[in-house]
């Protein structure tokens, strides 16, 4: 399998673990990642608040490069995925928009190269047997609150899973030998940048998600979005301090847990870089499987 790979800005900054772990598991699963040469920022939230055409043209340029190579685009970040999918659908839906976009990016893009979330690929494209046969350390002891966030399976046009009660990440966790808990906050918004710009609004949103995960009996949260990771992982201690209680919920990228199950060293996956200690739980899993940190 060969995909064009679009890491996007966050995977080269705050979300480096996501990039590292994605590359690790891709190799094990025989997925060849062709990183889009000269890729640009997808614009994420700033572009579509500024100008509609700009918000489509930015991701379309990356997609066009992949299209020329004849590849679909694998995108780990949920926001990049949503914007790239929006560009793909826009050129398919309207001839006028396609012309406008093509003129802006000065290259053709017909929407043949499809935007694919990495979660979609892991849950639906890869043969489940292929995943199973690579498992070295089953995720025994993991009770994951699979957290999809508000963007990954919405809106209707871009979704690859149920927008209210998605299951694909749960399926992957279960395939890897872990448990996933049933909880009501799978698609709740984490507040995105509000935690930074308006803490009074953003922090309670994060807190609510973490508490719900805890109440549902989870011992970790799993995500497929660098923004969600930032909020849930980095802000956790701040909330714990303010509220004077311990949440103690390590947060993982789905790719990290898969890498772990495939026998990759936690360091190579970037798990040691988390804000909230994740290694204690990881160590338990490894010991269960006869490995140590």
């Amino acid at each position: 399998m060969r995909y064009a790979y679009y890491p996007g800005c966050s995977l080269s900054s705050t979300g480096q673990e996501y990039d590292m772990s994605t590359k690790e598991i891709a190799e094990i699963l025989d997925i060849e990642l062709w990183e889009i040469p000269g890729w640009n920022c997808c614009g994420a939230s700033s572009a579509h608040l500024t100008d509609h055409l700009l918000s489509l043209a930015l991701p379309a340029r990356n997609m066009a490069i992949a299209e020329k190579e004849g590849l679909d685009v694998l995108i780990p970040c949920a926001a990049c995925y949503a914007r790239s999918k929006a560009a793909e659908l826009a050129v398919k839906e309207s001839k006028e928009m396609r012309t406008a976009i093509e003129e802006t990016i000065e290259r053709p893009y017909e929407g043949r190269a499809k935007a694919k979330s990495i979660l979609d690929v892991l849950a639906n494209d890869i043969d489940i047997e292929k995943i199973k046969e690579n498992i070295d350390t089953p995720l025994k002891g993991i009770k994951a609150a699979c957290y999809y966030g508000c963007l990954l399976v919405r809106p209707k046009a871009v979704r690859f899973d149920d927008p209210e009660d998605p299951q694909s990440m749960d399926k992957v966790i279960q395939t890897l030998g872990g448990e996933s808990v049933d909880w009501a906050f799978k698609t709740e918004c984490c507040g995105a940048s509000h935690a930074t710009t308006k803490g009074i609004v953003g922090l309670p949103m994060i807190e609510r998600i973490l508490i719900a995960a805890k109440e549902a009996g989870a011992n970790c949260v799993v995500t497929a979005c660098p923004m969600c990771m930032n909020n849930l992982d980095m802000r956790q201690e701040q909330i714990e301090k303010e509220k004077n209680y311990l949440l103690d919920l390590p947060v993982f990228y789905i790719t990290e847990l898969m890498g772990l199950a495939f026998g990759v060293e936690p360091k190579e996956l970037g798990i040691d870089r988390h804000f909230k200690d994740a290694l204690t739980l990881v160590n338990d899993i490894l010991e269960e499987g006869g490995r140590t940190l």
Binding site: D162, P163, E164, D165, A184, F185, A212, E215
Partner: protein, 660 residues
């Protein structure tokens, strides 16, 4: 040579304010065949009609053109008028110079006048080609069929029966009563539903003119107005109605339990059962899908305990063929399946229930004996949240229409909660409050003022379970603030939807339905209980959401219409129907599936060709079924099927008059 008279109407200023009517009359005098032309203020008035009759006699006119309003308004008036003058009613043509001209070209008087002249020119050309048509008579069977035994069907049956007509009610369930039997109290007066329904059910079952065919369905409808032949399937009850005494011992002893449909899954019933205590007929049926005797021959206890020997495991479905003059469709409604709403938990939270389930929870004969207890742990709820418009007015996940009854029944539910649970708190999420109706808005205001119901304008974005509470999150759009309520019970006012098999039944009986599968009336204002199929009427919620008062009113209206038909021994039929030219008909049958009224069949005819008799197939129109829509005439490749009064020759004469 035909002698045509042209009569141009002013319609007060409706036409004359735009069209130069005098000039229209003037110019039409020069059209070929026109002997006489006049204009007048109101042609449809008595003096107007007299003017026509006088002119027919004086000028020996034999074809009439009236340039006036739409033929839908007064074609019949003028047909009757010229019949009085002794000429065939179908010799009148209407040129619609109001709806098609003056009303749409108010600012272009000159052009409107020219258009009116052209419309008259065409009508004159057609009138010359008009052939005399005669209405035929067909006999009428004095017996009515009512499909569905809810309050609509029951009311229509009682009215017809009291007027002296024999009525059969075909009800698919084991008892009549419909949804009203499940409702606790009725808005706006809060009288007990059973107390006002049961007497009607008893009246229907005891009426000498009414036959109840419960546990029965419509298999096939053939024939036409006045003469429907209907095949009815009486499903095997496994209980002999003639000997069963309704003692109920079989139900008591039956060892197998299953979910009760009547209690909407909130309690159990036996496998041999009557759906509710006041059921009519009060005789049980065996649910064969659940009965162990039917599954593996074991049990048979009911048959052993029945003193009357009424249990009959061998009973077969029975098919009856009956003849009816009129049919009233009263198949009612169902509730929208809210499990498409992921934000409300896809139907997986036990304490999120529907309004109808709530009716059972407050009902003294319901699963909780009238004490409001929530399904999960049978505790009395303190905080109750109601959500309106679930599936209604939601084009994304539900239906575009308003279900009309939920604003009122939710207000009713709120008062019932407050009456039964003194310290309860009630919250109602709404989009609008729509309480038009006599005493309705007063009822709603009382709910707010005297019962402290907390109305919150906004939608609920999410419900989730947290411990033993349901957290309801939404927005109060009046203060633009998110709200979060810890609820013990959530009640959804789910949309009214047609029966699941509504489309299939409509096709079987030959009536129309709209995009949502509600049955369509012949005219939304002027023929609200008729269908496009003559002799078939609509009553109650099968036509669209309604409350009980409206349902009953419509049922009585449908009964009155059916009475009008059944009170005659024979009726006149419209002669504007299709006719087949057997000489050229190739027997291809293309017209058969096109006809929406199933009026065309193929028949064999014999013919002598070069001395030999051959048999071939041709199309045959049943003139009683044909509604004159003309669909078949377009389908026929050899133009062998034509609509009387709208023949190709007549239409082409109009085209030629305009274009040549």
């Amino acid at each position: 040579m035909k002698r045509v008279g042209v009569f141009v109407c002013h319609c007060g200023t409706n036409i004359a304010g735009v069209v130069d009517v005098a000039r229209v009359a003037e110019e039409s005098r020069d059209f070929p065949g026109v002997e006489y032309a006049a204009d007048y203020k109101y042609m449809c008035s008595e003096p107007g009609q007299d003017l026509i009759i006088k002119a027919i006699k004086e000028h020996k006119l034999d074809r009439i053109v009236v340039a006036a309003c739409s033929p839908r308004m007064h074609e019949n008036t003028f047909r009757k008028c010229i019949e009085k003058a002794g000429i065939n009613g179908y010799f009148v043509e209407i040129a619609n110079i109001r709806e098609h001209c003056s009303w749409v070209h108010t600012t272009e008087k000159e052009k409107a006048t020219e258009k009116a002249i052209d419309l008259v020119r065409m009508a004159v050309a057609k009138a010359i080609k008009d052939a005399p048509l005669q209405k035929a008579t067909i006999p009428v069977t004095d017996r009515a069929l009512i499909i569905g035994g809810g309050i609509a069907g029951i009311q229509a049956a009682i009215d017809l029966a009291n007027a002296g007509h024999v009525v059969d009610i075909v009800e698919k369930g084991p008892s009549i009563g419909g949804k009203m039997a499940q409702i606790d109290k009725t808005f706006p007066t809060l009288d007990c539903s059973a107390c006002i329904l049961t007497p009607k059910m008893v009246e229907a079952s005891g009426h000498p003119n009414i036959n109840l065919l419960t546990y029965s369905e419509i298999e096939k409808v053939e024939g036409y107005v006045g003469n429907f032949n209907v095949t009815i399937k009486k499903k095997a009850r496994s209980v002999r109605m003639d000997v069963c005494t309704g003692c109920g011992i079989c139900t008591e002893k039956c060892p197998i339990k299953t979910e009760s449909e009547f209690e909407l899954g909130m309690s159990q019933r036996r496998v041999i059962y009557t759906p509710f205590p006041q059921a009519i007929p009060n005789k049980p049926v065996i649910d064969r899908t659940k009965c162990t005797f039917f599954k593996n021959g074991k049990c048979g206890i009911c048959s052993r305990v029945c003193a009357a020997n009424a249990i009959d495991f061998e009973q077969q479905d029975e098919f009856l063929v009956e003849k009816y003059g009129a049919i009233i469709v009263a198949t009612g409604f169902e509730l929208f399946d809210y499990s498409v709403y992921g934000e409300y938990g896809y139907g997986k939270y036990p304490d999120v229930i529907t309004g109808l389930q709530f009716e059972r929870l407050v009902n003294a004969s319901g699963p909780t004996a009238g004490k409001i207890k929530r399904p999960s742990d049978h505790q009395e709820p303190k905080n109750v949240v109601f959500i309106k418009c679930v599936g209604s007015r939601d084009i994304a996940k539900g239906k575009s229409y308003c279900s009309k009854t939920c604003c009122m029944y939710t207000a009713k539910h709120a008062t019932l909660v407050s009456e039964k649970i003194k310290d309860a708190k009630v919250y109602i999420f709404y989009m609008d409050v729509r309480t038009a109706g006599k005493g309705y808005d007063e009822f709603y205001n009382r709910t707010r003022e005297n019962y402290n119901a907390n109305y919150i304008r906004g939608r609920v974005s999410k419900i989730y379970q947290s411990g033993d509470k349901l957290i309801v999150r939404g927005e109060d759009t009046l203060i633009s603030q998110p709200v979060e309520i810890e609820a013990d019970l959530v009640v959804l006012a789910t949309a009214m939807v047609p029966q699941l098999d509504a489309a299939a039944l409509a096709q079987r009986i030959g009536i129309g339905y709209d995009k949502d599968l509600w049955y369509t009336e012949a005219h939304p204002k002027l023929a609200p209980v008729e269908t496009h199929s003559q002799g078939i009427y609509l009553a109650g919620t099968c036509q669209g959401p309604k409350d009980i008062p409206e349902t009953v009113a419509q049922a009585s209206a449908a009964a009155a219409k059916a009475c009008g038909l059944l009170s005659k021994t024979e009726m006149l039929t419209e002669p504007i129907v299709s006719a087949v030219d057997e000489k050229t008909c190739a027997g291809c049958g293309l017209c058969v599936p096109i006809c929406p009224y199933k009026a065309i069949d193929m028949k064999a005819i014999q013919e002598r060709v070069q001395g030999i008799t051959i048999e071939r197939k041709v199309a045959d129109v049943n003139s009683s079924l044909c509604q004159g829509c003309g669909a078949c005439t377009v389908a026929c490749r050899s133009a062998s099927i034509g609509l009387k009064h709208f023949t190709d020759e007549q239409i082409l004469a109009e085209v030629n008059a305009l274009c040549l």
